[in-house]
Symmetry: C2
Subunit: 434 residues, 2 copies
């Protein structure tokens, strides 16, 4: 039995490693287009910013480790041109064919280059992969640009704003929308814009960039341009092989992460997954989801039948020193999905001020009809990750606001307040749900 995995970053290496743990006898080959595997792509902006001193610290294991310790063949700098399901083969660039019994597609996503005049000028840098980061780093080091423009206020764009400020650049940020990625909400967008402006980022939101020239974006000075306007799934190779795509354009999978063709699994940013609240497929490409899907796809490719239940779109992001976390549905998304959303917004301390407690801002969303929690967002410097995870757990369980309001959360002066900000928000929300 031969398992071939296309893609060697988060989902791909998780799949290969899990398959090996389950099946010592399986032959496993990972094909990776880039020069490294198993690197933490989410750490790349922090390498640019200097928090990560050496890019190699982002590499979990080198290819040789997988070969010697896990008996996984890793072929880097190798592209797959074609999948031939009828013959159970993949065709590599150069013409070599590789036979497989099981295939995991983990081809990830790529920067969705916008049609902007000038976006191929030499001072323009898409930012998504290891190689993208290397090119930008070299340019910053060698050319010492003073002013950076970031096109796209998504996760990467916002992280890069902080990183480039940390390197001493002036930063301007452009986005056609003025909403936070993944959780359309005016309240949240205002909080983020406030913080960016405080940190000195020049904001140009609400209209598309028209033209990049040497030294300028839409007339605003810029010696370096980061292109991070969004990403799209690398699903073309799957589509060409006849695999069904979902409405998002990512590869459609069932809860076993099987594609429409037997023996072929998909995981990570190239694939859709199930949204637990929308109860429908969704494409929400995130590193943690990629690792989880990889684990399940690898298990099933090795003969198990594990279910990946789905996601809530939980994410967290550092925006110039503050944490912004979201999970579940915003009011806008909830309304489109047929819920009757109500919300409450509170600001409350995370612990006693004499223990350095700070105010955290909370928004909770619930469904008026069922009383169920639908989502939440938090903004603050302290304890955002823990509280977003509390909400994610409540959403996973389908808790109603009424059931959550008296949750027995922990208290001691160094760590918490008697009434957690989440419970204060829940009490506020109960007045709305009635």
């Amino acid at each position: 039995m031969h398992l071939v995995v296309i893609g060697g970053v988060a989902a791909g290496m998780s799949a290969a490693s899990r398959a090996r743990r389950i099946s010592p006898d399986l032959k496993i080959t990972v094909i990776e287009r880039g020069p490294v595997v198993s690197y933490g792509a989410c750490g790349l902006p922090y390498w640019i910013g200097g928090a990560v001193k050496d890019a190699n610290a982002l590499i979990v294991h080198p290819p040789a480790f997988f070969e010697s310790e896990r008996d996984i063949r890793v072929r880097v700098n190798t592209s797959v041109d074609e999948i031939l399901p009828s013959r159970r083969r993949v065709r590599l660039a150069g013409g070599e064919d590789l036979a497989y019994d099981r295939l995991v597609i983990a081809t990830g996503a790529r920067t969705a280059t916008p049609p902007i005049a000038g976006d191929h000028l030499p001072h323009c840098f898409p930012f998504h992969t290891w190689e993208d980061a290397q090119r930008l780093e070299a340019f910053l080091r060698e050319r010492q640009p003073r002013r950076a423009a970031i096109v796209g206020a998504g996760f990467v764009g916002l992280e890069m704003a902080e990183s480039l400020l940390a390197r001493g650049l002036e930063v301007s940020l452009f986005d056609r929308s003025d909403h936070f990625p993944g959780w359309r909400d005016e309240w949240l967008s205002e909080r983020i814009q406030e913080r960016l402006a405080q940190a000195g980022v020049a904001l140009h939101l609400g209209q598309p960039v028209r033209e990049i020239r040497e030294g300028a974006v839409d007339g605003f000075p810029a010696d370096a341009v980061i292109l991070a306007p969004g990403i799209r799934p690398n699903s073309e190779i799957a589509a060409s092989a006849g695999l069904a795509l979902g409405r998002s354009g990512a590869i459609a999978v069932n809860e076993l992460l099987e594609t429409s063709i037997a023996g072929i699994y998909a995981a990570g940013d190239c694939a859709e997954t199930h949204h637990l609240l929308l109860n429908a497929p969704a494409w929400i490409p995130l590193g943690t989801t990629a690792n989880k899907m990889g684990r399940v796809a690898g298990a099933n490719a090795a003969g198990r039948r594990e279910r990946f239940p789905g996601v809530l779109g939980t994410s967290i992001l550092r925006v110039c020193g503050i944490a912004v976390g979201v999970t579940g549905l915003s009011e806008a998304t909830a309304r489109e999905a047929g819920f009757r959303p109500v919300s409450a917004t509170v600001e409350a301390h995370t612990r006693a001020s004499y223990f350095g407690g700070e105010a955290v801002k909370v928004k909770l969303v619930a469904d008026r009809n069922s009383g169920r929690l639908l989502g939440g967002a938090l903004v603050g410097t302290d304890g955002v990750e823990g509280r977003i995870n509390v909400l994610a757990t409540a959403l996973t369980a389908g808790l109603r606001v009424e059931e959550f309001q008296f949750a027995d959360l922990c208290y001691a002066p160094p760590y918490a307040t008697v009434w957690d900000p989440l419970l204060i928000a829940a009490q506020q929300l109960l007045k709305e749900t009635g």
Copy 2:
């Protein structure tokens, strides 16, 4: 209508304030035995230790605030001698009678003085109330003792160990048991003892203290002795009035926090509450529970019919700089309650090491029969409070380990790892539950 509240700390003032918000016309009187109301009793050890500079910072509001802003009459330094339910009166020390229509009993708890020879010597200090803390502080300031002995390794005893070390004293800690309060578990006790020993606390565990003399406890030098061997509910006044007590000796209440006599409610450390996992009454006196129960008792005394669902025994404690959090049942408690507990223990990082991530130790307990999570404990310097609350939420919802293992928790390098330590522990536990 006159609402009388006996006790003006956490539960009592919560009850009075909530009743006022619901019912502007109610006459409300709070009777408090001590000199201050609405103070954060849980902060008292941190005042002794110096983290809180001024004890007055622990007082949320002075009596005059409640009088002028909330129209709540507050009588401090006033004891209730007797409750006369048949005449709907309380008799104050000195003989004055006060008529009530609704009564909330929030008399709290007190140090359960152990029968130790010498425990009334002048260098011995029970530590529970505001006045206790004042007396100890004065002694420490005026006498400058060098060596402190703490009798009782409960919450207060452990917090006082840290505080007295911070004041430069040598500290020894005595307890008849060698288990962590509230969560009997050998693994957890070992972690705590490790930390105490590292911090320089001399441990004398596993046997009762026999004798306190001037300058020594059981022959070990001690110029000051803190008595914190445990607490018991102040329920005698309720019992004398004919109110039913529970098996714990605390006042029995139903989910509306009504006692066995109509019109009388009880809340906080003097009362039992419902344990959500044991599905039985339990006495788990904690500050956060007192506030929540007070809120509900106050609402119902003012005419509402709100339910207090119960508790999980969630708590967190700082032990010489590390956080120790628990929720739900330990294996020992679960076994006694008829479950078939299985557990898993892991140690994992809370975020990337380049973002200061540290290892946290996790123990999870589940029921082999149902697959449900039953409890958990965490020990570490970082992110314990958030993860304990995630577990508490999972327990509130009755999640099975299988449902929790893929919980969509947040990830970004500054805040988390791709696989949260809780999920790693859940995967480990799944191997046990099968």
